[in-house]
């Protein structure tokens, strides 16, 4: 029976994305000089989980890259390699590539193979201890078909350069250098390598014998190289002893333990499939623990058998106080257990299920309000109990609705978390010093917004870094701290969530913006208020950057930002002061699924108008309504003439044409355009559950969706932005026609 794995792919994608995010934030936070072993372990675990998942689901490209990354990280966490900036950078880069690969598997562009190859090589180089000593280490040539695996050890004295030797060996097949030769070390650290080759073992021995004195090399053939690399070499008179703990299948274990002295210390933990471990413990010298774990399929590590009495196996030698080994090992276990417990506290549910739940609760609320309506007609004394129950039901269903809504809510940290990285990379690129401060990461907002917010916010952050915060020299000249401060802040305010991007940079330059606006032919005047001037930067094609950098300045950013924010039903404002800084404020409704709206009546049809577009409503005096020949009517509101749009006319509702002075005008604003919508009646303000029309029907111009009213009927939600836009187009069209005549 074939088992369809693809059904789990989504889970894998989600989890991998989480691991990547986790890994990145840890990498960014880590102190390169003194890394916390807990952090290193966590980073390793993330890479390890990705590898495991990728291999299980058959994403071999992901698995291969993480495998190389994991090897490197493993060495780092075991203190075999000091953590360096290079390693952090390479790991971050791997994270990026993995993300791209993930996107590819989700149906995006494929990732450039060359970049992966370059990165892999870089990671492999970094993972060779003392990589500097063996710069030209020939690494991982394509696997040789039907090959044997030879474990090669080289001891001094070496008559020739080790590099040259490696090169000759590499010519025979794929050579993996496990450890570089270190003659200075005491005891001498032998060079170790695994050669995967089609040549017979004897040929290799012959070649080495030709180059080296016989006592300075050793070749052991690994016979069972297949797949998991289970090679168990039980050398005569040697028995595996001590409490060697294995966790999974497939090891090659070389455990020559000279009798008697054996060891309470061969305390070796393996984590997964396929190891070869050679851990000879010379008699009496068992001072340290060969706690060596390899995660490669079928490697071999040869310790010097003949070495001096003090021989401390190499990897352990790095573990300065060897008893410390025990706690270090124990720690990740505990942490893993902790993480697992945390994992059990949350479950992964598809948004469809949540939406269904939301739907059902919405229905319940409607049913409840119907009950309420019928109940209100009853005698309150006679039916006291029934009425009490109805009001109890009301409270319960409201609480239930809130609880269900909160399922969709996620902390904004999911968006903010990417910025430490963005800021770090960008500040480096721009040679600026920037400190990022994040406030209110736990502020919750609808999951739908989380995804849509990241692009606009990234634009704003990049803008602040590029145009806002000055270079350290400029800042010093202005008497500011050299390090600029970028603050991301999120908080709730009324029914909306506010997100601020604040920098303490140069601020917006009014004169520059105005002159640029004039250049681009925008209608501006010197008497415009600051707010109006700042709003100009949202105009398409507007950029005041002195030169176009690859960071920003192409003038496509800000208008897209505003468009995206408006599409989410929000708005963006700017406040700025020269040399003090700039704050961009984004305001969004709390959720997409529920909206505050005003229900209105036109003839006998009910429509809903989103509240965030409404400025005010009024009943005009006849004298305030003017008719412009052939262009419809305008209303004068405090000296401003606004076009009147009849909703009845817009939707061709059959009703006697009403007069503006007999109906109600609702002033709405969209993209800084104000329009007066003419309606018959205001019914009231309430929250509406938004449903889309496209699910079973199609997009209708002028409508942004539908909702269900208290009586169970459907009311349509007006798309104010579209109506305003349409009105504008109509006006332009008329002007054009007028000009033509």
């Amino acid at each position: 029976m074939t088992f369809d794995m693809s059904q789990f792919h989504q889970v894998f994608f989600d989890e991998t994305a989480e691991h990547l995010v986790n890994m990145e934030s840890l990498l960014l936070a880590i102190n390169v000089q003194q890394p916390e072993s807990e952090d290193l372990n966590a980073i390793f675990r993330a890479a390890h989980s990705i590898k495991g998942g990728a291999a299980t689901f058959g994403f071999s490209d992901l698995a291969e890259l993480t495998h190389v990354l994991e090897n490197l990280l493993d060495k780092v966490r075991k203190n075999e390699l000091p953590l360096s900036r290079d390693i952090v950078d390479a790991s971050l880069l791997s994270g990026d590539l993995l993300k791209e690969m993930l996107a590819f598997h989700r149906g995006d562009e494929p990732v450039d193979e060359a970049r992966i190859a370059v990165l892999k090589q870089k990671l492999e180089q970094l993972s060779v201890p003392g990589a500097a000593a063996v710069p030209s280490a020939p690494v991982a040539a394509p696997a040789v078909a039907a090959s044997g695996r030879l474990h090669i050890e080289i001891y001094p004295p070496v008559a020739m350069a080790v590099e040259e030797l490696w090169q000759r060996l590499a010519a025979l097949g794929s050579l993996q250098i496990m450890q570089a030769l270190d003659e200075q070390a005491d005891p001498v650290i032998p060079a170790l390598a695994v050669l995967t080759t089609a040549s017979p073992c004897d040929d290799v021995v012959e070649m080495l014998a030709f180059l080296l004195p016989p006592e300075s090399f050793k070749v052991v053939e690994d016979i069972t190289v297949e797949d998991d690399g289970v090679g168990f070499f039980s050398l005569p008179a040697l028995a595996p002893a001590g409490d060697i703990a294995f966790e999974e299948d497939g090891f090659g274990l070389f455990a020559p333990l000279p009798a008697s002295t054996a060891s309470p210390n061969a305390d070796i933990a393996f984590e997964e499939d396929g190891f070869g471990l050679f851990a000879p413990l010379p008699a009496a010298t068992a001072s340290s623990k060969p706690g060596v774990a390899f995660e490669e399929d079928g490697f071999g590590l040869f310790e010097p058998l003949a070495a001096a009495p003090a021989a401390a196996p190499v990897p352990a030698a790095h573990h300065a106080p060897s008893p410390a080994k025990e706690p270090v090992r124990a720690e990740p276990r505990a942490a893993t257990a902790g993480a697992a417990t945390a994992g059990e506290n949350s479950i992964r549910v598809s948004t469809d299920k949540v939406d269904l739940l939301l739907n059902l609760v919405g229905e319940l609320v409607i049913t409840q309000s119907m009950l309420m309506q019928y109940g209100s007609g009853l005698d309150s004394v006679e039916h006291e109990n029934l009425l009490n129950s109805i009001s109890l039901l009301q409270r319960n269903s409201r609480e239930l609705q809130e609880a269900v809504m909160s399922i969709r809510m996620m902390p904004i940290a999911f968006v903010f978390n990417r910025f430490p990285r963005v800021v770090r990379d960008l500040a480096g690129k721009l040679d600026k010093q920037v400190e990022l401060k994040m406030v209110g990461e736990n502020t919750e907002l609808d999951k739908g917004f989380i995804e849509k917010l990241s692009d606009p916010l990234t634009h704003l952050v990049r803008n602040s870094l590029d145009h806002g915060i000055e270079s350290p020299e400029q800042r010093r000249a202005k008497g500011k701290k050299e390090t600029g401060l970028l603050t991301l802040r999120a908080f709730h305010e009324g029914g909306s969530i506010v997100i601020e991007v604040t920098d303490d940079g140069a601020g917006l330059r009014r004169d520059k913006i105005l002159s640029k606006a004039r250049e681009s032919g925008l209608p501006v005047s010197d008497t415009m208020s600051d707010t109006e001037v700042w709003a100009l930067i949202f105009e398409p094609g507007f950029s005041t950057a002195a030169e176009v950098t690859d960071v920003s300045g192409r003038g496509v950013g800000m208008d897209v930002v505003r468009k995206n924010i408006v599409a989410m039903g929000g708005r963006i404002d700017i406040s700025s002061m020269v040399d003090i800084g700039t704050t961009m404020t984004i305001r969004l409704p709390l959720t997409l699924a529920i909206m505050d709206g005003m229900s209105i009546k036109i003839a006998d049809e009910t429509y809903v108008l989103p509240l965030n577009y409404i400025l005010e409503s009024l009943q005009p005096k006849p004298s305030e309504v003017k008719t412009i020949a052939g262009r419809g009517q305008v209303v004068s509101v405090r000296g401003e003439y606004l076009p009147i749009v009849s909703v009845a006319e817009y939707f061709s509702i059959d009703a006697p044409a009403s007069q503006p002075d007999k109906s109600i005008l609702i002033i709405v604003e969209s993209s800084s355009q104000k329009v007066a919508l003419m309606v018959d009646e205001l019914l009231g303000q309430q929250q509406f559950v938004v449903k889309n029309l496209e699910a079973n029907y199609r997009k209708v111009e002028g409508l942004s969706g539908a909702t269900i009213m208290g009586d169970g009927r459907v009311a349509l939600i007006l798309d104010v932005a579209a109506i305003v836009r349409m009105n504008l187009q109509k006006a332009h069209g008329e002007i054009l026609t007028a000009q033509l005549h």
Partner: protein
């Protein structure tokens, strides 16, 4: 052309198995649709008019929290008496993962037919375009026009879907 291929499909699908069809009336003709596409049958009420749509799209209703469009086949095919009262019937269909309601003159019964009972439809003057007709079902004296309701509902002329969605069907 559709007739021949449809017939071939039918004979392979339904030769052995008998399938059930819901029969509804439009004017003087009887039509049959695959009962598995039918979600429920309900009365006609509380339809919210949709502006800027063709006249046969009556509007949308709230079907237990889902916004469902209602098409009146009587207007679409210009048959029957277009009146709405307590006896007006709406067949709620589940086609292509969408829910659509369709007003007809009446629902008569459910019949069981095998592939043999369905004859290829000649070019004839039904109110529906023959593209949507799978064949003619014969039950005793009655002749039932078998309709591929999915094809009909996703067609351009029904204007129920955005062009992009319909193209993906």
């Amino acid at each position: 052309m559709g007739v021949a291929t449809m017939d071939a499909n039918n004979s392979s699908d339904t030769d052995k198995a008998r399938r059930e069809y819901l029969v509804f009336a439009l004017g003087k003709e009887e039509y049959g649709i695959d009962i598995l596409k039918v979600q429920e049958i309900r009365g006609y009420d509380a339809v919210t008019r949709l502006a800027k749509s063709p006249s046969f799209i009556k509007g949308v209703i709230n079907l237990r929290g889902h916004i469902v469009p209602i098409v009146d086949m009587r207007i679409k095919f210009d048959v029957g008496n277009v009146i709405y009262n307590d006896f007006t019937v709406v067949i709620i269909l589940n086609v292509l993962n969408r829910t659509v309601g369709m007003v007809v003159d009446g629902v008569s019964d459910v019949i069981e037919l095998s592939g043999d009972d369905i004859r290829p439809a000649p070019e004839f003057g039904a109110v529906m375009n023959t593209n949507y007709i799978q064949g003619l079902g014969v039950v005793g004296e009655r002749m039932i026009i078998m309709v591929d309701i999915e094809k009909l509902m996703s067609s351009d002329e029904m204007a129920l879907m955005d062009a992009a969605v319909a193209a993906n069907v």
